[in-house]
Protein backbone atom coordinates (compact mmCIF):
# COMPACT_ATOMS: atom_id res chain seq x y z
CA UNK A 1 0.00 0.00 0.00
CA UNK A 2 1.35 3.43 -0.90
CA UNK A 3 2.07 5.89 1.90
CA UNK A 4 -0.42 8.67 2.35
CA UNK A 5 1.91 11.51 1.44
CA UNK A 6 3.06 9.72 -1.72
CA UNK A 7 -0.55 9.06 -2.59
CA UNK A 8 -1.48 12.68 -2.00
CA UNK A 9 1.42 14.04 -4.05
CA UNK A 10 0.63 11.71 -6.92
CA UNK A 11 -3.00 12.71 -6.71
CA UNK A 12 -2.09 16.37 -7.09
CA UNK A 13 0.46 15.89 -9.82
CA UNK A 14 -1.78 13.65 -11.92
CA UNK A 15 -4.78 15.95 -11.58
CA UNK A 16 -4.57 17.43 -15.05
CA UNK A 17 -4.42 14.08 -16.81
CA UNK A 18 -7.23 12.62 -14.74
CA UNK A 19 -9.48 15.62 -15.26
CA UNK A 20 -9.03 15.26 -19.02
CA UNK A 21 -9.83 11.57 -18.66
CA UNK A 22 -12.87 12.42 -16.54
CA UNK A 23 -14.12 14.62 -19.35
CA UNK A 24 -13.61 11.83 -21.87
CA UNK A 25 -15.32 9.35 -19.56
CA UNK A 26 -18.29 11.68 -19.17
CA UNK A 27 -18.42 12.41 -22.89
CA UNK A 28 -18.30 8.71 -23.67
CA UNK A 29 -21.01 7.96 -21.12
CA UNK A 30 -23.30 10.78 -22.17
CA UNK A 31 -23.02 9.97 -25.86
CA UNK A 32 -23.46 6.26 -25.30
CA UNK A 33 -26.51 6.81 -23.10
CA UNK A 34 -28.07 9.24 -25.58
CA UNK A 35 -27.58 6.84 -28.47
CA UNK A 36 -28.66 4.05 -26.13
CA UNK A 37 -31.91 5.93 -25.53
CA UNK A 38 -32.57 5.99 -29.25
CA UNK A 39 -31.78 2.27 -29.56
CA UNK A 40 -33.80 1.58 -26.43
CA UNK A 41 -36.84 3.49 -27.58
CA UNK A 42 -36.69 1.86 -30.98
CA UNK A 43 -36.53 -1.67 -29.62
CA UNK A 44 -39.10 -0.96 -26.89
CA UNK A 45 -41.52 0.14 -29.60
CA UNK A 46 -40.75 -2.98 -31.63
CA UNK A 47 -41.41 -5.04 -28.55
CA UNK A 48 -44.86 -3.58 -27.94
CA UNK A 49 -45.70 -3.33 -31.64
CA UNK A 50 -47.86 -6.47 -31.54
CA UNK A 51 -46.11 -7.60 -34.72
CA UNK A 52 -44.59 -10.95 -33.88
CA UNK A 53 -41.50 -10.68 -36.05
CA UNK A 54 -40.59 -7.24 -34.69
CA UNK A 55 -41.11 -8.53 -31.17
CA UNK A 56 -38.71 -11.37 -31.88
CA UNK A 57 -36.09 -8.99 -33.20
CA UNK A 58 -36.38 -6.89 -30.07
CA UNK A 59 -36.23 -9.96 -27.84
CA UNK A 60 -33.17 -11.22 -29.69
CA UNK A 61 -31.37 -7.92 -29.22
CA UNK A 62 -32.07 -7.88 -25.49
CA UNK A 63 -31.11 -11.53 -25.21
CA UNK A 64 -27.81 -11.04 -27.01
CA UNK A 65 -26.84 -8.07 -24.90
CA UNK A 66 -27.94 -9.56 -21.61
CA UNK A 67 -26.51 -12.94 -22.43
CA UNK A 68 -22.91 -11.92 -23.02
CA UNK A 69 -20.35 -9.95 -21.03
CA UNK A 70 -19.94 -6.32 -21.96
CA UNK A 71 -16.24 -6.82 -22.66
CA UNK A 72 -17.08 -9.42 -25.31
CA UNK A 73 -19.57 -7.05 -26.89
CA UNK A 74 -17.05 -4.23 -26.92
CA UNK A 75 -14.39 -6.32 -28.62
CA UNK A 76 -16.78 -7.77 -31.17
CA UNK A 77 -18.28 -4.43 -32.07
CA UNK A 78 -14.95 -2.62 -32.10
CA UNK A 79 -13.23 -5.07 -34.40
CA UNK A 80 -16.40 -6.20 -36.15
CA UNK A 81 -17.77 -2.81 -37.13
CA UNK A 82 -14.41 -1.92 -38.54
CA UNK A 83 -14.54 -4.79 -40.96
CA UNK A 84 -17.57 -3.16 -42.54
CA UNK A 85 -16.93 0.54 -42.29
CA UNK A 86 -14.46 2.50 -40.28
CA UNK A 87 -15.63 5.04 -37.77
CA UNK A 88 -13.42 7.06 -35.46
CA UNK A 89 -12.32 5.36 -32.25
CA UNK A 90 -14.44 7.50 -30.01
CA UNK A 91 -17.55 6.70 -31.95
CA UNK A 92 -16.71 3.03 -32.16
CA UNK A 93 -16.40 2.90 -28.37
CA UNK A 94 -19.50 5.02 -27.87
CA UNK A 95 -21.51 2.83 -30.24
CA UNK A 96 -20.38 -0.35 -28.55
CA UNK A 97 -21.42 1.02 -25.17
CA UNK A 98 -24.64 2.40 -26.65
CA UNK A 99 -25.48 -1.00 -28.11
CA UNK A 100 -25.10 -2.43 -24.63
CA UNK A 101 -26.95 0.34 -22.79
CA UNK A 102 -29.69 0.28 -25.42
CA UNK A 103 -30.88 -3.17 -24.39
CA UNK A 104 -31.21 -2.18 -20.76
CA UNK A 105 -32.85 1.10 -21.73
CA UNK A 106 -35.25 -0.79 -23.99
CA UNK A 107 -36.34 -2.77 -20.97
CA UNK A 108 -36.76 0.43 -18.96
CA UNK A 109 -38.95 1.98 -21.65
CA UNK A 110 -40.93 -1.19 -22.17
CA UNK A 111 -41.65 -1.21 -18.46
CA UNK A 112 -42.66 2.42 -18.18
CA UNK A 113 -44.72 2.33 -21.38
CA UNK A 114 -46.62 -0.66 -20.07
CA UNK A 115 -46.98 1.02 -16.68
CA UNK A 116 -49.00 3.85 -18.23
CA UNK A 117 -52.63 3.13 -17.54
CA UNK A 118 -54.37 1.38 -20.41
CA UNK A 119 -57.17 3.92 -20.10
CA UNK A 120 -54.86 6.57 -21.50
CA UNK A 121 -54.61 4.79 -24.84
CA UNK A 122 -58.36 4.21 -24.86
CA UNK A 123 -59.06 7.86 -24.08
CA UNK A 124 -56.75 8.92 -26.88
CA UNK A 125 -58.32 6.53 -29.35
CA UNK A 126 -61.85 7.44 -28.30
CA UNK A 127 -60.95 11.02 -29.29
CA UNK A 128 -60.14 9.81 -32.79
CA UNK A 129 -56.36 9.48 -32.47
CA UNK A 130 -54.61 6.64 -34.27
CA UNK A 131 -52.57 4.18 -32.19
CA UNK A 132 -49.42 5.93 -33.35
CA UNK A 133 -50.61 9.40 -32.48
CA UNK A 134 -51.87 8.32 -29.08
CA UNK A 135 -48.55 6.59 -28.45
CA UNK A 136 -46.59 9.65 -29.45
CA UNK A 137 -48.70 12.34 -27.84
CA UNK A 138 -50.16 10.58 -24.81
CA UNK A 139 -48.27 7.46 -23.79
CA UNK A 140 -44.64 8.27 -24.57
CA UNK A 141 -44.49 11.61 -22.74
CA UNK A 142 -45.74 9.90 -19.59
CA UNK A 143 -43.48 6.90 -20.09
CA UNK A 144 -40.44 9.16 -20.59
CA UNK A 145 -41.11 11.00 -17.38
CA UNK A 146 -41.32 7.79 -15.41
CA UNK A 147 -38.20 6.52 -17.13
CA UNK A 148 -36.07 9.39 -15.85
CA UNK A 149 -35.01 7.85 -12.52
CA UNK A 150 -34.14 4.43 -13.97
CA UNK A 151 -32.35 6.18 -16.83
CA UNK A 152 -30.37 8.06 -14.22
CA UNK A 153 -29.37 4.76 -12.68
CA UNK A 154 -28.47 3.39 -16.08
CA UNK A 155 -26.29 6.46 -16.56
CA UNK A 156 -24.40 5.59 -13.37
CA UNK A 157 -23.98 1.99 -14.50
CA UNK A 158 -22.91 3.23 -17.93
CA UNK A 159 -20.31 5.50 -16.36
CA UNK A 160 -18.72 2.56 -14.59
CA UNK A 161 -19.01 0.32 -17.65
CA UNK A 162 -17.22 2.90 -19.77
CA UNK A 163 -14.06 1.81 -17.95
CA UNK A 164 -13.98 -1.17 -20.29
CA UNK A 165 -13.41 1.17 -23.22
CA UNK A 166 -9.86 1.25 -21.87
CA UNK A 167 -9.32 -2.04 -23.63
CA UNK A 168 -10.05 -0.52 -26.99
CA UNK A 169 -7.59 2.27 -26.39
CA UNK A 170 -9.89 5.04 -25.18
CA UNK A 171 -7.88 7.25 -22.85
CA UNK A 172 -10.67 7.39 -20.30
CA UNK A 173 -10.17 7.24 -16.54
CA UNK A 174 -9.25 3.61 -16.15
CA UNK A 175 -6.90 3.54 -19.11
CA UNK A 176 -5.11 6.63 -17.87
CA UNK A 177 -4.78 5.05 -14.46
CA UNK A 178 -3.30 1.78 -15.69
CA UNK A 179 -1.07 3.51 -18.22
CA UNK A 180 0.32 5.92 -15.65
CA UNK A 181 0.54 3.04 -13.21
CA UNK A 182 2.56 0.91 -15.55
CA UNK A 183 4.72 3.84 -16.66
CA UNK A 184 5.56 4.76 -13.08
CA UNK A 185 5.61 1.15 -11.94
CA UNK A 186 3.10 2.13 -9.33
CA UNK A 187 -0.24 0.59 -10.31
CA UNK A 188 -1.68 0.65 -6.84
CA UNK A 189 -1.45 4.39 -6.26
CA UNK A 190 -3.03 5.21 -9.59
CA UNK A 191 -5.76 2.62 -9.16
CA UNK A 192 -6.68 4.07 -5.79
CA UNK A 193 -6.68 7.56 -7.27
CA UNK A 194 -8.95 6.57 -10.13
CA UNK A 195 -11.25 4.81 -7.65
CA UNK A 196 -11.70 8.15 -5.92
CA UNK A 197 -12.58 9.86 -9.17
CA UNK A 198 -15.22 7.24 -9.87
CA UNK A 199 -16.58 7.38 -6.33
CA UNK A 200 -17.00 11.14 -6.50
CA UNK A 201 -18.65 10.97 -9.91
CA UNK A 202 -21.00 8.19 -8.84
CA UNK A 203 -21.85 9.92 -5.57
CA UNK A 204 -22.68 13.16 -7.38
CA UNK A 205 -24.80 11.36 -9.95
CA UNK A 206 -26.57 9.35 -7.27
CA UNK A 207 -27.49 12.58 -5.52
CA UNK A 208 -28.81 14.05 -8.74
CA UNK A 209 -30.86 10.94 -9.48
CA UNK A 210 -32.41 10.85 -6.02
CA UNK A 211 -33.24 14.57 -6.23
CA UNK A 212 -34.87 13.87 -9.56
CA UNK A 213 -36.83 11.02 -8.04
CA UNK A 214 -38.08 13.20 -5.22
CA UNK A 215 -39.04 15.98 -7.57
CA UNK A 216 -40.96 13.63 -9.82
CA UNK A 217 -42.66 11.98 -6.84
CA UNK A 218 -43.92 15.37 -5.65
CA UNK A 219 -45.26 16.54 -8.99
CA UNK A 220 -46.67 13.14 -9.87
CA UNK A 221 -50.34 12.66 -10.66
Amino acid sequence: MPSFSHFFQTFISSKGLFLDATLLTLKLTIVSILIGIIFGLFFALLKISRIKILEYISNAYVFLVRGTPLIVQIFILYFGFSGIFLIPDFWAAALALAFHNGAYIAEIFRGTIQSVDKGQMEAGRSLGMTRGTAMRRIILPQAFRRALPPLGNQFIIGLKDSSLAAFISMNELFNVATTLGSNHFDEMTYLLIVAIYYLVLVALLTMIVSMLEKKLAISDR
Binding site: G119, Q120, S126, L127, R145, R221
Partner: protein
Protein backbone atom coordinates in the same frame (compact mmCIF):
# COMPACT_ATOMS: atom_id res chain seq x y z
CA UNK B 1 -88.41 12.13 -29.42
CA UNK B 2 -86.98 12.62 -32.87
CA UNK B 3 -87.32 9.63 -35.09
CA UNK B 4 -83.93 9.77 -36.81
CA UNK B 5 -81.97 6.63 -35.98
CA UNK B 6 -78.50 7.60 -34.70
CA UNK B 7 -77.37 4.11 -33.70
CA UNK B 8 -78.72 0.84 -34.85
CA UNK B 9 -77.34 -2.44 -33.60
CA UNK B 10 -78.35 -5.65 -35.24
CA UNK B 11 -77.60 -9.09 -33.94
CA UNK B 12 -74.35 -8.02 -32.27
CA UNK B 13 -72.20 -10.81 -30.82
CA UNK B 14 -68.97 -10.64 -28.93
CA UNK B 15 -66.88 -13.24 -27.12
CA UNK B 16 -63.70 -13.08 -25.12
CA UNK B 17 -62.13 -16.43 -25.79
CA UNK B 18 -64.76 -18.96 -24.76
CA UNK B 19 -66.75 -16.37 -22.81
CA UNK B 20 -69.78 -15.26 -24.79
CA UNK B 21 -70.30 -11.72 -23.49
CA UNK B 22 -72.81 -10.17 -25.91
CA UNK B 23 -75.53 -12.38 -27.32
CA UNK B 24 -77.59 -11.28 -30.31
CA UNK B 25 -77.96 -7.67 -29.23
CA UNK B 26 -80.51 -5.54 -31.13
CA UNK B 27 -80.86 -1.91 -30.14
CA UNK B 28 -81.74 1.41 -31.73
CA UNK B 29 -80.96 4.84 -30.34
CA UNK B 30 -82.70 7.84 -31.87
CA UNK B 31 -81.56 11.41 -32.15
CA UNK B 32 -81.64 13.26 -28.82
CA UNK B 33 -82.61 10.09 -27.03
CA UNK B 34 -81.04 9.36 -23.66
CA UNK B 35 -80.70 5.63 -23.13
CA UNK B 36 -79.64 4.30 -19.74
CA UNK B 37 -78.05 0.86 -19.75
CA UNK B 38 -78.50 -0.96 -16.45
CA UNK B 39 -77.83 -4.46 -15.28
CA UNK B 40 -75.74 -6.35 -12.81
CA UNK B 41 -71.97 -6.54 -12.92
CA UNK B 42 -70.57 -8.64 -15.74
CA UNK B 43 -73.75 -8.50 -17.78
CA UNK B 44 -71.88 -6.92 -20.71
CA UNK B 45 -72.82 -3.22 -20.46
CA UNK B 46 -69.28 -1.89 -20.81
CA UNK B 47 -68.54 -4.29 -23.61
CA UNK B 48 -71.58 -3.12 -25.53
CA UNK B 49 -70.53 0.50 -25.11
CA UNK B 50 -66.98 -0.27 -26.16
CA UNK B 51 -68.22 -2.07 -29.26
CA UNK B 52 -70.22 1.04 -30.16
CA UNK B 53 -67.01 3.06 -30.01
CA UNK B 54 -65.02 0.30 -31.73
CA UNK B 55 -62.65 -0.02 -28.79
CA UNK B 56 -63.64 -3.69 -28.92
CA UNK B 57 -64.00 -5.53 -32.20
CA UNK B 58 -67.35 -7.19 -32.63
CA UNK B 59 -67.45 -10.84 -33.65
CA UNK B 60 -70.69 -10.74 -35.56
CA UNK B 61 -73.66 -8.53 -36.36
CA UNK B 62 -73.86 -5.00 -37.64
CA UNK B 63 -73.53 -1.52 -36.20
CA UNK B 64 -75.07 1.39 -38.08
CA UNK B 65 -74.17 4.95 -37.15
CA UNK B 66 -76.61 7.48 -38.67
CA UNK B 67 -77.82 4.87 -41.04
CA UNK B 68 -74.46 3.82 -42.35
CA UNK B 69 -73.05 0.43 -41.53
CA UNK B 70 -69.62 0.80 -39.96
CA UNK B 71 -66.92 -1.78 -40.26
CA UNK B 72 -63.18 -1.45 -39.74
CA UNK B 73 -62.66 -2.74 -43.26
CA UNK B 74 -64.64 -0.06 -45.04
CA UNK B 75 -64.29 2.86 -42.68
CA UNK B 76 -61.53 4.74 -40.95
CA UNK B 77 -62.49 3.90 -37.40
CA UNK B 78 -60.61 6.93 -36.14
CA UNK B 79 -62.93 9.19 -38.10
CA UNK B 80 -66.01 7.38 -36.86
CA UNK B 81 -64.83 7.74 -33.29
CA UNK B 82 -64.84 11.49 -33.70
CA UNK B 83 -68.61 11.43 -34.02
CA UNK B 84 -68.99 9.17 -30.97
CA UNK B 85 -67.60 10.62 -27.75
CA UNK B 86 -66.83 8.48 -24.74
CA UNK B 87 -66.54 9.23 -21.05
CA UNK B 88 -64.90 6.65 -18.81
CA UNK B 89 -65.42 5.61 -15.24
CA UNK B 90 -61.84 6.57 -14.35
CA UNK B 91 -61.84 9.82 -16.36
CA UNK B 92 -58.57 8.95 -18.14
CA UNK B 93 -57.49 12.57 -18.29
CA UNK B 94 -53.97 13.07 -19.61
CA UNK B 95 -51.98 13.75 -16.44
CA UNK B 96 -49.08 15.45 -18.22
CA UNK B 97 -51.31 18.12 -19.73
CA UNK B 98 -53.25 20.95 -18.14
CA UNK B 99 -57.03 20.97 -18.22
CA UNK B 100 -57.01 23.27 -21.24
CA UNK B 101 -54.39 21.18 -23.03
CA UNK B 102 -56.44 18.06 -22.35
CA UNK B 103 -59.36 19.63 -24.15
CA UNK B 104 -57.56 21.17 -27.14
CA UNK B 105 -55.30 18.19 -27.79
CA UNK B 106 -57.62 16.18 -30.02
CA UNK B 107 -59.19 19.10 -31.93
CA UNK B 108 -55.71 20.37 -32.85
CA UNK B 109 -54.02 17.04 -33.50
CA UNK B 110 -56.88 15.06 -34.97
CA UNK B 111 -59.15 17.69 -36.48
CA UNK B 112 -56.31 20.08 -37.36
CA UNK B 113 -58.24 23.06 -36.01
CA UNK B 114 -56.08 26.16 -35.47
CA UNK B 115 -54.90 26.41 -31.91
CA UNK B 116 -56.50 29.78 -31.13
CA UNK B 117 -59.87 28.53 -32.28
CA UNK B 118 -59.47 25.33 -30.24
CA UNK B 119 -58.61 27.35 -27.15
CA UNK B 120 -61.65 29.57 -27.54
CA UNK B 121 -63.92 26.59 -27.88
CA UNK B 122 -62.26 24.88 -24.95
CA UNK B 123 -62.85 27.88 -22.73
CA UNK B 124 -66.50 27.90 -23.70
CA UNK B 125 -66.79 24.23 -22.82
CA UNK B 126 -65.06 24.79 -19.51
CA UNK B 127 -67.54 27.50 -18.74
CA UNK B 128 -70.33 25.14 -19.63
CA UNK B 129 -69.08 22.51 -17.13
CA UNK B 130 -68.37 25.25 -14.58
CA UNK B 131 -64.61 24.99 -14.51
CA UNK B 132 -63.42 28.08 -16.38
CA UNK B 133 -61.02 28.90 -13.51
CA UNK B 134 -59.25 25.52 -13.75
CA UNK B 135 -57.97 25.89 -17.33
CA UNK B 136 -54.28 25.96 -16.42
CA UNK B 137 -54.36 23.47 -13.62
CA UNK B 138 -53.08 19.89 -13.93
CA UNK B 139 -55.61 17.07 -13.45
CA UNK B 140 -53.87 15.89 -10.27
CA UNK B 141 -55.09 19.06 -8.58
CA UNK B 142 -58.76 18.39 -9.33
CA UNK B 143 -61.39 16.51 -7.36
CA UNK B 144 -62.94 13.44 -8.95
CA UNK B 145 -66.09 15.32 -9.89
CA UNK B 146 -64.08 18.09 -11.51
CA UNK B 147 -62.01 15.53 -13.38
CA UNK B 148 -65.09 13.92 -14.82
CA UNK B 149 -66.53 17.26 -15.92
CA UNK B 150 -63.23 18.01 -17.68
CA UNK B 151 -63.42 14.60 -19.34
CA UNK B 152 -66.91 15.45 -20.58
CA UNK B 153 -65.70 18.78 -21.91
CA UNK B 154 -62.77 17.06 -23.59
CA UNK B 155 -65.13 14.69 -25.32
CA UNK B 156 -67.49 17.46 -26.35
CA UNK B 157 -64.61 19.39 -27.90
CA UNK B 158 -64.66 16.91 -30.76
CA UNK B 159 -68.30 17.88 -31.41
CA UNK B 160 -69.61 14.33 -31.32
CA UNK B 161 -73.13 13.46 -32.38
CA UNK B 162 -73.43 10.78 -29.75
CA UNK B 163 -71.97 10.57 -26.25
CA UNK B 164 -71.30 7.28 -24.45
CA UNK B 165 -70.86 7.26 -20.68
CA UNK B 166 -69.54 4.19 -18.84
CA UNK B 167 -70.44 4.54 -15.18
CA UNK B 168 -69.27 8.13 -15.12
CA UNK B 169 -69.99 8.60 -11.42
CA UNK B 170 -69.13 5.28 -9.85
CA UNK B 171 -65.52 6.21 -9.07
CA UNK B 172 -66.64 9.36 -7.27
CA UNK B 173 -67.17 10.11 -3.61
CA UNK B 174 -70.94 10.30 -3.04
CA UNK B 175 -70.91 14.06 -2.44
CA UNK B 176 -69.30 14.63 -5.85
CA UNK B 177 -71.77 12.56 -7.88
CA UNK B 178 -74.32 15.38 -8.06
CA UNK B 179 -72.17 17.86 -9.99
CA UNK B 180 -71.42 15.36 -12.72
CA UNK B 181 -75.04 14.24 -13.05
CA UNK B 182 -76.08 17.89 -13.31
CA UNK B 183 -73.66 18.43 -16.18
CA UNK B 184 -74.99 15.31 -17.90
CA UNK B 185 -78.56 16.40 -17.41
CA UNK B 186 -77.82 19.77 -19.01
CA UNK B 187 -76.26 17.96 -21.93
CA UNK B 188 -79.37 15.80 -22.30
CA UNK B 189 -81.58 18.89 -22.12
CA UNK B 190 -79.58 20.41 -25.00
CA UNK B 191 -80.58 17.46 -27.12
CA UNK B 192 -77.41 15.34 -27.10
CA UNK B 193 -77.92 11.70 -27.99
CA UNK B 194 -76.56 9.75 -25.04
CA UNK B 195 -76.03 6.14 -23.99
CA UNK B 196 -75.26 5.97 -20.29
CA UNK B 197 -74.23 2.93 -18.28
CA UNK B 198 -75.12 3.82 -14.72
CA UNK B 199 -76.12 2.53 -11.33
CA UNK B 200 -77.73 5.88 -10.46
CA UNK B 201 -81.36 4.88 -10.66
CA UNK B 202 -82.49 8.36 -9.65
CA UNK B 203 -80.73 9.84 -12.65
CA UNK B 204 -82.05 7.12 -14.92
CA UNK B 205 -85.62 7.70 -13.83
CA UNK B 206 -85.37 11.45 -14.21
CA UNK B 207 -83.32 11.91 -17.35
CA UNK B 208 -83.57 8.75 -19.44
CA UNK B 209 -85.98 8.45 -22.32
CA UNK B 210 -85.62 4.72 -22.18
CA UNK B 211 -83.99 2.19 -19.96
CA UNK B 212 -82.31 -0.93 -21.27
CA UNK B 213 -81.85 -3.81 -18.87
CA UNK B 214 -79.06 -6.21 -19.68
CA UNK B 215 -78.60 -9.61 -18.13
CA UNK B 216 -76.02 -12.21 -19.01
CA UNK B 217 -75.13 -10.63 -22.35
CA UNK B 218 -78.71 -10.18 -23.49
CA UNK B 219 -81.09 -7.24 -23.53
CA UNK B 220 -83.99 -8.47 -21.41
CA UNK B 221 -86.13 -5.39 -21.43
CA UNK B 222 -86.28 -1.94 -22.96
CA UNK B 223 -88.83 0.49 -21.70
CA UNK B 224 -89.58 4.03 -20.67
CA UNK B 225 -88.51 4.77 -17.08
CA UNK B 226 -91.99 4.85 -15.58
CA UNK B 227 -92.87 1.43 -16.91
CA UNK B 228 -89.42 0.03 -16.16
CA UNK B 229 -89.33 1.04 -12.52
CA UNK B 230 -92.97 0.77 -11.59
CA UNK B 231 -94.07 -2.07 -13.75
CA UNK B 232 -91.17 -4.26 -14.84
CA UNK B 233 -92.10 -7.06 -17.18
CA UNK B 234 -89.41 -9.57 -16.43
CA UNK B 235 -88.80 -11.52 -13.26
CA UNK B 236 -85.03 -10.81 -13.49
CA UNK B 237 -85.73 -7.08 -13.73
CA UNK B 238 -87.75 -7.17 -10.54
CA UNK B 239 -84.97 -8.98 -8.72
CA UNK B 240 -82.41 -6.51 -10.03
CA UNK B 241 -84.51 -3.54 -8.94
CA UNK B 242 -84.85 -5.08 -5.50
CA UNK B 243 -81.10 -5.35 -5.03
CA UNK B 244 -80.46 -1.81 -6.25
CA UNK B 245 -83.17 -0.48 -3.95
CA UNK B 246 -81.30 -2.01 -1.04
CA UNK B 247 -78.14 -0.02 -1.76
Amino acid sequence: MNSREMIKIENLNKSFGSLHVLKDIDLSVYESEVVCLVGSSGSGKSTLLRCLNFLEKKDGGSIFIRGEEISPDTHNINDVRQTVGMVFQHFNLFPHKTVLENIIEAPIIVKKIPKSEAVDEARELLQKVGLEDKADVYPSKLSGGQKQRVAIARSLAMKPDIMLFDEPTSALDPELVGEVLTTMKELADEGMTMVVVTHEMGFAREVADSIVFMNDGKILEKNCPEEFFDNPKEERTKEFLKTTALK
